[in-house]
């Protein structure tokens, strides 16, 4: 099935992908080719912020797949995002080499500080980019597989599952805060120098990662669209609406849930891996339950079960967050809390739902 064919019925998706491509090209051109003095120049800072939003959008896409389509409200997707981020962070940590404060070629600074003598076994291999990239996919994927297998097999559903996923990310947060875990404890991983030999401070590198984020968001969207448009997508929707009925027509519901959960976790991991080189740090606070809840609200604001709604919500809410925390930081939590209440009460289908209703109203 070609992409054109796939998107034939998804007009909004086509528009979104076009806009995304246009946005990526324009932003990078305005940054690299337009002189800094010009009014049209886009600063590297802005490029990085935009790249960050794209990562959030990919993460929101992952949440929408499990929540919007399969009805699994995961309050622990931040964990998969953070694990992907840590995997990439570990690679960049190893790349620092002798340029660290302690000048130790083998050990990252925090390990020297803890008086460790050798690299823990789970850090081996992370000096290779290909290995780290593989881990970006494997670690969140395997965790989701193990966790999902345990949870779905025992038919834990609904709010129970949500609470358990929250406990999962909470446990990870507690664990990663410990220095003995060997992931930098409280401070996490930071002070990255370069990636694949490219200096992370250079405009070119930044723009490249921004473009990669756009590319992966686009690819993530297309793959997700393929999944939800396939017969599997319909099975997953059926599971969401009437789980036991789906069993009685012969589908092993657990397998489908597990598959979509793992796929979503891998997408979240990729988002995390692209996010970390742009913000330059990954620490245990990414595991905090609040983070995972926040990204659920992105999807709710945009409109779940549509894919593009999740992207829209992620970008809008984060833009609002940037603005609010800049001007009135204490108001942000009021606004975020209010958003949770308002969206669930007044626009259960999010902005996409509102737009749909307006259009239907116009037709009438």
């Amino acid at each position: 099935m070609g992409i054109g064919n796939l998107l034939a019925r998804d007009r909004v998706g086509k528009t979104f992908l076009t806009l995304l491509a246009l946005f990526a090209v324009v932003v990078s051109t305005l940054n690299l080719l337009v002189p800094e003095a010009s009014a049209f120049h886009v600063s590297t800072f802005t490029v990085t912020v935009a790249g960050k939003y794209l990562c959030y959008a990919l993460l929101a896409l992952a949440v929408d797949l499990v929540w919007g389509y399969c009805g699994i409200l995961s309050l622990g997707h931040g964990a998969f995002f953070a694990l992907g981020g840590y995997a990439m962070g570990m690679y960049m940590m190893r790349q620092i080499g002798e340029r660290g404060v302690y000048g130790n070629a083998l050990l990252p600074d925090f390990m020297v500080f803890l008086n460790w003598k050798e690299l823990p076994w789970y850090w081996l291999g992370f000096d290779h980019f290909w290995f780290a990239s593989l881990m970006v996919l494997l670690v969140p994927g395997l965790l989701a597989c193990l966790f999902g297998w345990l949870a779905f097999r025992s038919r834990v559903t609904g709010v129970y599952l949500s609470i358990i996923t929250q406990a999962l990310t909470y446990a990870f947060m507690l664990a990663f805060f410990r220095n003995e875990m060997g992931f930098g404890g409280n401070n996490g991983l930071t002070d990255f120098k370069d990636i694949l030999g490219f200096n992370l401070q250079k405009d070119g590198t930044r723009v490249a990662i921004f473009l990669l984020s756009a590319l992966f968001l686009g690819l993530g969207y297309i793959t997700s669209r393929f999944v939800v448009e396939s017969k599997m997508g319909r099975v997953v929707t059926a599971v969401r609406d009437a789980e036991s009925r789906t069993r009685f027509i012969g589908y092993k519901v657990e397998h489908f849930k597990l598959w979509i959960f793992v796929f979503s976790a891998v997408l979240a991991g990729i988002a995390g891996a692209l996010y970390v080189p742009q913000v330059g740090i990954i620490n245990p606070s990414e595991f905090s339950p609040l983070n995972s809840l926040e990204l659920v609200i992105w999807v709710a604001v945009g409109g779940r079960g549509t894919l593009y709604g999740a992207v829209l919500g992620a970008i809008l809410v984060n833009y609002a967050k940037t603005i609010f925390t800049g001007i009135l930081p204490e108001v942000w939590l009021f606004a975020l809390g209010g958003l949770f209440v308002a969206v669930t009460l007044f626009m259960p289908d999010g902005l996409v739902g509102v737009a749909r209703r307006l259009r239907l109203g116009g037709v009438r």
């Binding site: 406990a167 664990a175 809840l293 204490e330 009021f334 949770f340 669930t344």
Partner: protein, 555 residues
């Protein structure tokens, strides 16, 4: 304050001592007023001291010891410690404490501060070694016959620490007459220890047997000392029988200590469990009965804790009674907030549990920020009433803090109260009816929306009460609720939804398990292990410890 801490340098000791001293002083004054003859007796015995001849000193001391006066002990001790002086000019007997180059004087009779004098203005009342023996036994006798059992116990303990033959001789006499069990036991320990230091093997063996299982620190030290070696590698104690016996006795003591430690752990675990039960039980009602996940439950607890804070601000002079005001106040306030939440948000979301979860989570953010704006983001301290501070001493190795003890009691009380409300009241009946079959209850004329609001109010009110209890254990701050929300959900999930007994057993089990794990793996890892355990547990029992069964559970 426990008796283990007997270092007089600690500032916390100074206050009670001063209080004790001044109390005695007032008592003495009273006695002086009532019976001038007695006070005079002390003066009669004391005043001759500067002039009495060395040979007559023993007699003088004997006379002094005979005087029935609370100040006598202090004077005798001062004499023993070489603090009893007299002023050269006036022959006035004084307590003298070295200060700079001279002494600071206190009148031995009146306790009046006499200021500082030079080194040469005063003279020490001298004693000999023989006199020291006389003094020791006089002081011991005085203290060991004190009317207050606590004082006697203290005297015996100080003899255990610094034994002298005179005191021990007295103890031997005293042991048969001592009416108080604790004091008698202490005397026996002192005597056995003395036997142990002796040379008679039969007595030593007997002593070791007598000391088996005794938790006194000194006993442990002495038995341990019997196992030690000199630098050359020889045992200090030459008799191997004694050594072996002592080793056995020590092992028994250690076992007993271990048991006590276990008891303490159990107690800590139960108190943590009680807090978890308090936190989870309100949740169990809203989650179990109504099927509503209330993520703002922790924030309701926070409101309860802040209510305590405000109540204490309003009645700063009656902190001891503040909790009795705070508990009903917190219940009413949080119940009203809860009813507001139910009427304002949750009732529009029935049948959509995931949305309820999100909306109430949003609410929890708003409530947190609200508290930050009103009370500042910093923690507030809430005072503990005096009747809740202190500890309950079980034996010399185990003491239980009263506040934790009360919280266990309180949580059981709340649990029982809730059970009674559900079982015995009309509201309880309606709540159970709605929980079992909403449509049927409605058809029978039960106002389900009213029941929903009341149920939610009840659950929220209990959260507020739990907050009052928490304010006695931890800091009161905007994040108070968050710290407990994951844990309390775990309790509900573990115990089984819709079953209060499950919540009780689940909470206590998790609390105890947590405290048992903690010493081995640390706080954080213990918590992680508990979470993993629960995730694995629901593999086996997806509906918790006490699942609902039958058609109602199919849902």
């Amino acid at each position: 304050m426990s008796k283990r801490n007997n270092n007089p340098m600690l500032p916390c000791w100074e206050k009670p001592l001063l209080l004790l001293a001044s109390g005695l002083w007032v008592l003495a004054l009273l006695l002086a007023g009532l019976a001038p003859a007695r006070a005079d007796a002390l003066a009669d015995a004391l005043n001759p001291l500067p002039t009495v001849a060395m040979a007559d000193m023993e007699q003088a001391i004997g006379k002094l010891a005979q005087v029935q006066d609370p100040r006598v002990g202090g004077v005798l001790k001062a004499l023993l410690e070489a603090r009893l002086f007299y002023v050269k000019e006036s022959k006035r007997v004084v307590f003298a404490d070295p200060k700079d180059d001279g002494f600071k004087l206190t009148d031995a009779l009146t306790g009046e501060a006499l200021g500082e004098v030079g080194r040469f203005d005063v003279k020490k009342i001298p004693i000999t070694n023989a006199l020291r023996t006389v003094l020791n036994s006089a002081i011991a006798k005085l203290e060991l016959t004190a009317p207050d059992a606590k004082q006697r116990l203290k005297a015996v303990e100080s003899i255990i620490q610094n034994p002298n033959p005179e005191a021990l001789a007295l103890l031997t006499k005293q042991v048969g007459q001592e009416p108080d069990n604790t004091v008698r036991e202490a005397i026996q320990v002192a005597l056995s220890l003395a036997d142990l230091s002796g040379s008679d093997k039969t007595l030593r063996v007997q002593a070791i047997h007598a000391l088996e299982g005794n938790l006194n620190q000194e006993v442990r030290n002495r038995l341990t000392a019997l196992q030690e070696k000199t630098e050359t590698g020889d045992f200090i104690e030459p008799d191997s029988d004694i050594r072996n016996l002592a080793a056995v006795a020590l092992k028994k003591i250690q076992l007993k200590l271990e048991m006590n430690r276990l008891g303490e752990m159990l107690f800590f675990g139960l108190s943590l469990g009680a807090v978890l039960v308090l936190a989870a039980i309100g949740l169990a009602i809203t989650f179990g009965v109504m099927g509503v996940i209330n993520m703002a439950h922790g924030e309701l607890m926070m409101i309860g804790a802040y209510t305590t804070y405000v109540v204490q601000l309003l009645m700063p002079n009656a902190i001891d009674y503040s909790l009795f005001v705070a508990i009903p106040a917190a219940f009413v306030i949080t119940a009203l907030v809860g009813i507001g939440i139910e009427r304002g948000i949750i009732r529009f979301l029935y049948g959509r549990p995931l949305e309820t979860l999100l909306a109430t989570f949003g609410l929890s953010l708003v409530l947190q920020q609200l508290v930050r704006s009103i009370f500042s983001p910093l923690n507030r301290s809430v005072s503990t009433p005096s009747w809740m501070s202190g500890s309950l001493e079980i034996n010399s190795a185990l003491s239980l803090t009263l506040n934790r003890f009360y919280i266990i009691l309180f949580s059981l009380l709340v649990f029982w109260g809730l059970l009674m409300i559900l079982k015995k009241t009309r509201l309880g009946l309606e709540v159970r009816a709605v929980a079992q079959n909403r449509a049927m209850a409605k058809a029978m004329g039960i106002r389900t929306d009213w029941v929903d609001a009341m149920t939610f109010g009840l659950g929220s009110g209990i959260a507020g009460v739990a907050g009052v209890a928490l304010s006695q254990l931890t800091n009161v701050g905007p994040n108070l609720g968050q710290a407990y929300i994951v844990d309390s959900f775990m309790v509900v999930v573990f115990g089984g939804v819709g079953n209060l007994w499950g919540t009780l057993v689940g909470g206590l089990t998790l609390g105890v398990a947590d405290k048992i794990l903690e010493p081995y793996v640390g706080t954080v890892l213990a918590k992680i292990l508990m979470l993993i355990f629960i995730i694995l547990f629901i593999q086996k029992r997806p509906r918790g410890l006490f699942p609902q069964k039958g058609r109602a559970a199919e849902g």
